[in-house]
Symmetry: C2
Subunit: 480 residues, 2 copies
């Protein structure tokens, strides 16, 4: 593995281990009476037992079944001390201060899962738990980027990620996309002509990208990794939607899905980790979209040198994920087992496929043909409508300003009772100083491209269809 220490930020280099934390070894030595750590006695924790009811694998009744009425359920019971058959994260451990990489049982579970799904291209990788990917993004900027340094991002990207970079003084620089994501050739041209300090990393959401819903093909991933090697930058892949992958949409087709566990694993897009022989990929994963956002548990997969620096940051910021979360999430996962968790993910895939199909069926049925472009998403929660601003009836009145027209059409949608998000809210302008040379000239089509993001995740099917009908009405009224 090449030496990667030049990627660390000044802040990351400054972080020192605490002598007190290093002396923890004495705290647990039974020969030593330690009055060292300011830990409250677990006897005083006011909870002796937490429990939860959940569906049992393999989820034959569906994953959206009301658990209180389901037949096949499991009871998760976690006690303060050891009393149960399951190897749980007891409350005396999870509600106490703990090591910042997260409880060893949950961490091992996640490592085992990672080994089952990915094939990291080198051995010296590891996992640390976080409190979610949004936090992981902040930690990543702080670990690698000094104020004033650029970060490569998809030209439309997760707005909180962009905001987090800017707040930390980093400069997000957009990489041109088409409807299938980053275009490797354009990325290479951009780097070949780069002006000023080089980007430390590319921040990408490769699967079910937010906001565009696009998914990078294996070929593009491999090509991008090679560019990262050639121009020596890291790849930070933010993969909350990774398990929301679906078969390709076919108009009107009902997908007969009977994937088994191996079939699921084979169906998944490769991680950048699979190409990573240098340790230059940092993967951010999360339970937010597969279990629930409120678990506030995510994790980072990366090389051990980087993770040690993340750990120093975690120690003096988050400390550990919530103990209730660790006990109840591990309580669930250990009862499901690795296989049961894959069964859950298979059903999740089926569920999202249906929602995606309902959405795309409605779009093709309701929206005026020829007046929009759509690549039916194969992952994630989002669809991304492209509309030419020149179709807007009052195009001239808005001085041919596509952004202003996009905003106007969004507002007209809201008046008609439908909310889609204007694409330019996600736009990452290239604002380095001096500016980067353009990798591709902007065409008239580019200048007039408007985008709208919708999600098919958060509402029931009838509302989905109603929303699309209202958007169709808006398009019919205001586009020519």
């Amino acid at each position: 593995m090449p030496d990667l220490s030049h990627f660390l930020s000044e802040e990351a280099k400054r972080r020192k281990p605490s002598p007190l934390k290093e002396a923890f070894v004495h705290f647990t030595n039974p020969k030593i009476c330690s009055l060292g750590g300011g830990l409250p006695l677990p006897d005083l924790f006011p909870y002796d037992k937490v429990s939860a009811k959940a569906l049992a694998a393999p989820f034959n009744e569906g994953i959206d079944k009301d658990i209180l009425e389901a037949k096949d359920t499991i009871d998760i019971e976690v006690y303060k001390k050891d009393v149960e058959e399951f190897d749980d994260i007891n409350l005396s451990i999870s509600l106490q201060y703990g090591q910042s990489h997260g409880n060893v049982l949950l961490r091992e579970y996640i490592k085992e899962h990672t080994r089952r799904v990915h094939h990291v291209g080198y051995d010296d990788w590891d996992v640390v738990l976080t409190i979610g990917n949004t936090y992981g993004l902040d930690a990543t900027v702080r670990t690698f980027v000094n104020p004033g340094e650029p970060v490569l991002v998809e030209e439309f990207s997760f707005s909180s990620a962009l905001e987090c970079m800017r707040a930390n003084g980093a400069i997000p620089v957009g990489v041109k996309m088409d409807l299938d994501g980053i275009i490797p050739e354009v990325l290479e041209t951009q780097l070949a002509n780069w002006v000023g300090p080089k980007p430390k990393y590319l921040y990408t959401i490769p699967t079910g990208q937010n906001p565009t819903g696009s998914t990078l093909s294996p070929e593009r991933r491999q090509a991008i990794y090679k560019i990262a090697q050639k121009y020596d930058f890291l790849i930070v892949e933010d993969e909350p939607y990774y398990y929301l992958q679906m078969p390709v949409y076919e108009k009107g087709a009902k997908h007969e899905q009977h994937l088994d566990r191996d079939g699921l694993i084979k169906s998944l897009a490769p991680s950048f980790l699979d190409y990573d022989v240098d340790g230059r990929v940092v993967r951010l994963d999360s339970f937010s979209k597969v279990l629930a956002p409120g678990t506030r548990i995510g994790w980072i997969v990366a090389n051990k040198m980087f993770l040690e620096r993340y750990l120093r940051l975690l120690e003096s910021t988050c400390q550990v994920p919530s103990g209730f979360s660790q006990s109840l999430v591990y309580g669930l996962l250990t009862r499901w087992g690795q296989d049961g968790y894959l069964d859950w993910l298979i059903k999740l895939r089926e569920f999202y496929t249906k929602k995606r199909d309902v959405t795309c069926d409605a779009i093709y049925r309701e929206l005026p043909a020829g007046k929009y472009e759509l690549v039916p998403p194969t992952s994630g929660m989002f669809f991304w409508l492209k509309i030419d601003a020149r179709r807007f009836k009052d195009y001239e009145k808005y001085n041919a300003d596509a952004k202003a027209i996009e905003m106007k059409l969004y507002e007209l949608g809201v008046e008609n009772g439908v909310f889609l998000v204007p694409g330019h809210w996600f736009f990452a302008p290239d604002n380095t100083d001096p500016p980067q040379p353009r990798a591709v000239e902007e065409s008239e089509d580019d200048k007039n491209a408007m985008f709208f993001r919708g999600t098919f995740a958060s509402v029931p099917d009838d509302k989905l269809v109603l929303a699309i009908q209202r958007w169709a009405k808006t398009m019919n009224e205001y586009l020519k």
Copy 2:
């Protein structure tokens, strides 16, 4: 209230609200079909019910009673949807993405509690939830301090707080203490002679200070607040030990404690908030020491302008505290009620008083009289032994280097089977460039002062006494 915007860091000023978050108002408008937010359907959260067993107020069986064997218990049951008599934070809410200031029910509970205990000197204050005070410290540095700027700290301070400041590029500058904490007159001299950029704030742990166990008297708090006004800096009070306040130690006395709720409130030291007419106090509070560290819920009390900046930071880092934590902590507190929570705190006070008494009794009984100084703590988890390095038998061999001797005595203690923390691990040197002029000349006594921190919180009484006996043996063997 004076204009306080000059306290904000460049980072805090850069943070912008997200247009998407500002459009949230449309998401909840029933007339609008929103395909805006990428929120998973709560139907898919794999938990429909979580429950916990806890002791019932007013805790007549003691607060360390095994709940599974106790008579007076309560059952906390929180469902995904409304089904129960209690106004709980349902899982469909807590396990979803939420507003970063924390769930409204828990936040209102904490505000009501704050109003009951403190008398903030102005009206325009508020509360936001955090994931604990360690995170609060990091957020505070980022919100107020630019790299290279100094922060005033107690000359011995919480090592993670110091590390967090240094990592962020802030320069902690120690303020001279005696065994009762910061000396206001010395602080004033220090500021009157200040060289270079002025400190943005004083970071202090006023009650049961870590590591010294000292508690600032009301007179010192008031004097320090006046100095903050005169020299225009903020006061950041980190108060995790606030409810571990005890009556003054009297050798051999058994405290007959029968405080009622009003008595408890009257017994508490004032918060800096009580003197705060300008909005220049930021209070960091936490459930870590009164319920359990693993709840990972803390909160900040401050003026609304500052809190709005914290909120922008929270949105792009932590998002929200764990949903399980919010549901189960609020589930407990709402069933206890505001009164029951005060009853819990009364019992906690009694519990810690007993442990403090056991510790001080043992120290006075076992340690060689005249060879150490101790101010019996009136708050917190820590005691702080002061020992003159000139008493060390091999004083000359160590070139009269008090730090080296402190480290040696620590190691000799470990060899004898007792772990106390060497004081200099908590020391904050004054390392501005150019250096600050000394506020007081260092005497020979100062140069030879060694300190050791012990905790009486984390071990049962028999181990506490054994540890002190072993420390007595160490002192007897190596001190003259």
